[in-house]
């Protein structure tokens, strides 16, 4: 490709004196800004962030910080290079005027752009009852301030901590509590921890890890209400099975919500599931037409992946934020023929109860699972997930050096069950098992309404309470 991306020279002008605005001053926003400068963007760069802090790293907040090994306000991300941006921190973006190419801010200001990158990420899903959620001692864990507050509450030596939700964050919090010698109860609506991300076979291993480490793990239950004392401090939680747990710290760990509300009414295709974009990170408008000046990256983005049947994936993964930001930044400054797709293979890690859990591919797409190396009983293994005769994902427990091998297999659409035989003995045998993911038609968050019957007179509405 020649350096002249466009015939009219507009791309050269953009690089020389254009205005680029990045909304979202976290991992994706920062890495995108660095890439733009690396690619020679010399125009004005504005970074907008609703938190008052420069970009910081979140994974340590549920691990090192809770263990007291690192301080929450010492998690600022290292810079790959100077980005010479104008920082607008502590002020949220509140609106977008696509026609005027303008972002509106919470303090009444507006910033005009030639290219916009949206990287507003997600926030912690709050406790559904706002009054109960506001009780002292009730936490979520997403931001630096959350991490700092929870760390302080744990250091004060609560008699019991209740963690609501046993996904990765909830499990890491429970692990940190046990390491600090605190009594902890974990309440999980599903049948096991991590079941939504890794399925029931691996979930059963996770459940053993919780119990062996002294966690009071309750599965198949929901917390129905939180109870405070007269001073407004949480003291107990009531469960759907009729039991009550007394706890003076409660951590609500029910996943995340995408920060897209500020775009409502803008005409951009943004909603609760994120912002849909093409594989080149260009956002769709509500008509399903791709924009050419608005790009998306990180947790808030939802983009089709060629390797996974062009399914729209939204990934709340650290590595995805880095890779997608890089692709978005490259494409923002490139002519159409020079743009490249975001083809990162999903990957994440977690560390809990001293075990290193890592994954590549898309485990929830898998219908079958095979322990290919090691054994579940030893808690040191590699497991492959199969989907329609294809290897679609792999997870390792304390066996991470094998993961790049599985990543290559997934990229090459290798068959499942894998034809290779290993030198390992495999106590579980070599026959795949059902991966045992929860039925996607079963509601995961609270009650739902289902409709049945055909004619309007026949329509029946069924209320299904959360179990």
């Amino acid at each position: 490709m020649t350096s002249t991306g466009t015939h009219d020279g507009s791309l050269e002008r953009l690089k020389r004196e254009g205005r680029i605005v990045v909304v979202g001053a976290s991992l994706a926003g920062l890495r995108a800004a660095e890439t733009m400068r690396e690619k020679g963007f010399a125009g004005s760069l504005t970074m907008i962030g609703d938190e008052p802090y420069e970009p910081y790293d979140r994974p340590p907040l549920s691990k090192q910080v809770l263990l007291g090994n690192a301080v929450a306000d010492h998690t600022a991300l290292p810079r790959r290079r100077a980005i010479e941006a104008e920082w607008r921190l502590g002020v949220p973006a509140t609106g977008l005027d696509m026609a005027a190419r303008r972002v509106e801010l919470g303090n009444g200001d507006a910033v005009e752009y030639d290219r916009l990158l949206i990287a507003t990420g997600v926030r912690a899903r709050p406790w559904p009852n706002a009054e109960e959620g506001a009780l002292k001692g009730v936490f979520v864990l997403r931001t630096r301030d959350d991490g700092e507050g929870l760390q302080r509450a744990l250091a004060a030596g609560p008699r019991r901590v209740l963690v609501i939700g046993a996904g990765f964050t909830g499990s890491e919090i429970a692990s940190a509590c046990r390491e600090r010698g605190l009594d902890v109860t974990v309440a999980e609506r599903g049948d096991a921890p991590l079941v939504g991300a890794l399925g029931g076979v691996i979930g059963a291993v996770a459940a053993e890890m919780h119990r062996e480490n002294g966690v009071d793990l309750r599965t198949g239950v929901m917390v129905t209400s939180l109870e405070g004392d007269p001073s407004g401090r949480v003291r107990a939680a009531h469960f759907s099975d009729g039991s009550t747990v007394e706890a003076d710290v409660v951590v609500v760990s029910l996943g995340a919500q995408r920060n897209t509300e500020w775009l409502s009414g803008s005409g951009l295709g943004a909603g609760p599931r994120g912002i849909a974009c093409d594989a080149g990170c260009r956002a769709f408008d509500i008509r399903g037409i791709v924009t050419d000046d608005i790009y998306v990256a990180g947790d808030v983005a939802r983009s089709p992946h060629a390797l996974f049947g062009y399914q729209f994936l939204s990934l709340e993964h650290w590595g995805n934020a880095v890779a997608q930001a890089d692709t978005a930044a490259h494409n923002m400054l490139s002519a159409s023929a020079d743009r490249r797709p975001h083809l990162w293979v999903p990957a994440f890690w977690s560390s809990q109860f001293g075990v290193n859990i890592k994954s590549v591919g898309v485990p929830p797409m898998g219908t079958e699972i095979l322990i290919t190396q090691g054994s579940l009983a030893e808690r040191r293994f590699a497991a492959a997930y199969g989907y329609q005769g294809r290897l679609i994902a792999a997870v390792t427990f304390d066996n991470c050096r094998w993961l790049p091998f599985y990543e290559q297999q997934i990229e090459a659409t290798a068959p499942f069950p894998p034809p290779f035989s290993t030198v390992d003995r495999r106590p579980e045998g070599s026959k795949p098992l059902p991966a045992d993911f929860p039925d996607p038609s079963v509601p995961t968050h609270g009650p739902t309404i289902t409709l049945s019957g055909y004619s309007p007179a026949d329509r029946k509405m069924t209320f299904t309470p959360g179990r």
């Binding site: 090994n69 690192a70 998690t75 991300l77 290292p78 790959r80 650290w318 560390s351 304390d398």
Partner: protein, 87 residues
């Protein structure tokens, strides 16, 4: 001195934990914990850890403030640039 480890890339070789034990520590057999803001006194150890990582997973930034606080301004081979920001 800020640092971040790409834990997707990290394979638990523990070279960093041997070379800069005040900043990096293994947690269990292969999980890594680290202090994302290391003390400037650890600079040389951390730079050795960055250089020794077999999968080059550590991103380190040395700020101007760190430079000012440096005791000995000698450079460690293979790491660092005067303007800060070494991979």
């Amino acid at each position: 001195m800020r640092l971040v480890v790409d834990l997707n890339r990290c394979q638990g070789y523990a070279q960093c934990a041997f070379l800069a034990p005040d900043v990096f520590a293994m947690h269990g057999d292969e999980s890594l914990l680290y202090n994302p803001e290391a003390d400037p006194a650890q600079r040389e150890d951390v730079m050795r850890a960055v250089a020794a990582c077999p999968v080059q997973a550590i991103l380190l930034e040395i700020t101007d403030e760190d430079m000012a606080n440096m005791v000995a301004p000698d450079a460690v081979a293979g790491a660092g640039s005067p303007s800060g920001g070494a991979r």
